[in-house]
Amino acid sequence: MIGADAIAKCLIKEGVDTIFGYSGVAIDPFWNSVGKENIRTILVRTEQNAGHAASGYARTLGKTGVCAVTSGPGATNLLTGIATAYADSIPLVCITGQVNTDQIGSDVFQEVDVTGAAESFVKYSYLIRDVKDIPRIIHEAFFVASTGRKGPVLIDIPCDVQLQRISDFDYPDDEPKMRTYKPTIKGNAVQIKKVIKVLEYAKKPLIIAGGGVFLSNAKKDLRKFVEKHQIPVVSTMMGIGVLPTDHPMYYGMVGNNGNSYANRAMRECDTLLMVGARVADRAVAAPDMTFDGKVLVHMDVDPAEIGKNVGPTIPIVGDIKHIFADFMDAEFKDRHETWVNMLDLYRDSMKEEHHSSPDFVNFQAFVKKLCTAMKDDAVYVADVGQNQLISCRNIIMKDRNKFFTSGGMGTMGYSIPAAMGVKAAERKTQVIAVCGDGAFQMSMMELATIKQFDLPVKIVVMRNEYLGLVREHQSREYDGEYNMVYLGSDPDLSKLSEAYGIRYIKAENMKDIDEKISDFLSDDSAVIFEVLTDPEENVI
């Protein structure tokens, strides 16, 4: 057995069934060995998308996504995928080929110090120098990626290490013993008691739920608690879907792009529970001011997020699922009925009506219609830009719907490869990628992958010939002097769809929009739905 065989065996032991990636000389021993195992390999069209696809896969199944690429340019192309996963705490194991051990540091062909380059946006990285370390390192990598605050782990493996003989292969079964890594899972009992006490006397309690709720698989637990005590919930962008949109206790998304009634709830509450959310700048612009005079309870698995942007009254470090299990055990009376009534009033009266030019599709209305028509367990993947903000503000989530987007990094071109990852994880699930014409052109090479590997993703292209959100910014900040934002009207998407053998639908305005949406979603095939929107329309 050689090193590469050992890696493939380790991946099987870790339950890996799909790897996204790209080949190259430095990673070829790995692909050769993986080819002998029962693992599905998906050849994306650029390495960055291997990272995004693995992310979509990981978010769908709640397990670690795996991607593998070659050294040098393959590795650097993957960096954006790694950084995107890091910003949203998505568990990935990223494998890169490296030049031979004795060539490292001598600037040979396709050599790059990828562990050095990625250091500040990986959870951990390894450069394997000894073939004997392979089982231990891969075992540790999966453990580190999928526990505590999840995130990407990078394993750089020189080509000669992949080819070296390994005499005795023994894969450890038990949890890796790492003296430097012991994430806190259970919340401190004293702190939990304090929170219960605070909640008992709160007149205006509010929960802000973030992506951590999904990462710790605590959606059901949170809902149970909220329904038991009738505590209102708002979400961050990463937290969309923690409760169904029509749930009586759900009051929208906070943030500078959020729902106005959600922000009002955040401003007016007296007790705030941040649950798996990191007080990010886009969610809470001036945290010290916003939380002044409130009781702030901050729960996160990462102690460094607590107190980073705002000093909490009660910090709780731990896994959200475990913390809410403890909360459920506590009995207390709640006394905030008037607050809930007030929030209901805000939600009903502050409905955002959006008017747009009748010559184009009203994308706000389109998102609502799309969500109503999509399946109850469909996955909606939004890209970045105006399409993302409109999606977040108008999305209608049913209990089993999922919403994915690149929240922390705001990586354009995330939606299509991530949606492919969802399809690779769950072939039967309806998956809709919603992107603008900018992001589409950053990722349209993947149409070939969609076709070749039978990953029929539904793609909505919100087309306005501009990098809309930046154009909008320039219209405000630079008196409408537009620079570097006009994309023009090419390519012709109907011809492009034809070239890739993918079905195509177009909507120029709201005429017959319901029929078109139902046609778009009618079958299991990949479809490109080009939706023309007003180029001058602002969303903020």
Partner: protein, 159 residues
């Protein structure tokens, strides 16, 4: 505010760069940094002196703790620790100032560890304030070269 971080790390290649990279990337100050093996050759001790507001000083500790090569962090204020710095100074001397230099060294408990025809080397091992004071006192003399270790610190013994 100043704070001393005594950071035990895995003695592996690349760890220093990971730790210093963290400070650079998050714009934390490094006032001084000293690294060396501990009694266990698998473990190195980094003594880092940093300054900033309370939130920054807390973040430094938390972010360091997230690094998987970091085993343990002890933090202390200056007054809670014994701090030392080793400094070597090479100076030019002549007949007229030789005596004065030697008297200064004596007063500062510094040693002359090497001497040549026109140059001598002074060694001082003391608190960072005292080593800085020696540099000040030698201002009138021409300093040829100077090297210092950065602060080493351990928390004071329990009484």
């Amino acid at each position: 505010m100043k704070k001393i971080y005594s950071v035990l790390v895995e003695n592996r290649s690349g760890v220093l760069s990971k730790v210093s990279g963290l400070f650079a990337r998050r714009t934390f100050n490094i006032d001084s940094l000293a690294v060396g093996e501990t009694e266990d050759s698998n473990i190195s001790c980094m003594t880092i002196v940093s300054s900033g507001d309370n939130r920054t000083l807390e973040q430094i500790e938390k972010q360091l703790n997230k690094k998987l090569d970091v085993i343990k962090i002890k933090t202390f204020e200056e007054e809670e620790a014994i701090s030392r710095e080793l400094m070597l100074i090479k100076v030019k001397y002549n007949k007229s100032n030789r005596r004065e230099i030697m008297e200064t060294c004596q007063a500062m408990k510094a040693d002359i560890v090497d001497i040549g025809k026109y140059q001598m080397m002074i060694q001082i091992c003391d608190t960072p304030e005292r080593t800085a004071l020696l540099v000040k006192l030698l201002k009138g003399v021409s300093i040829v070269e100077l090297a210092r270790t950065g602060t080493l610190a351990l928390s004071k013994c329990e009484i």
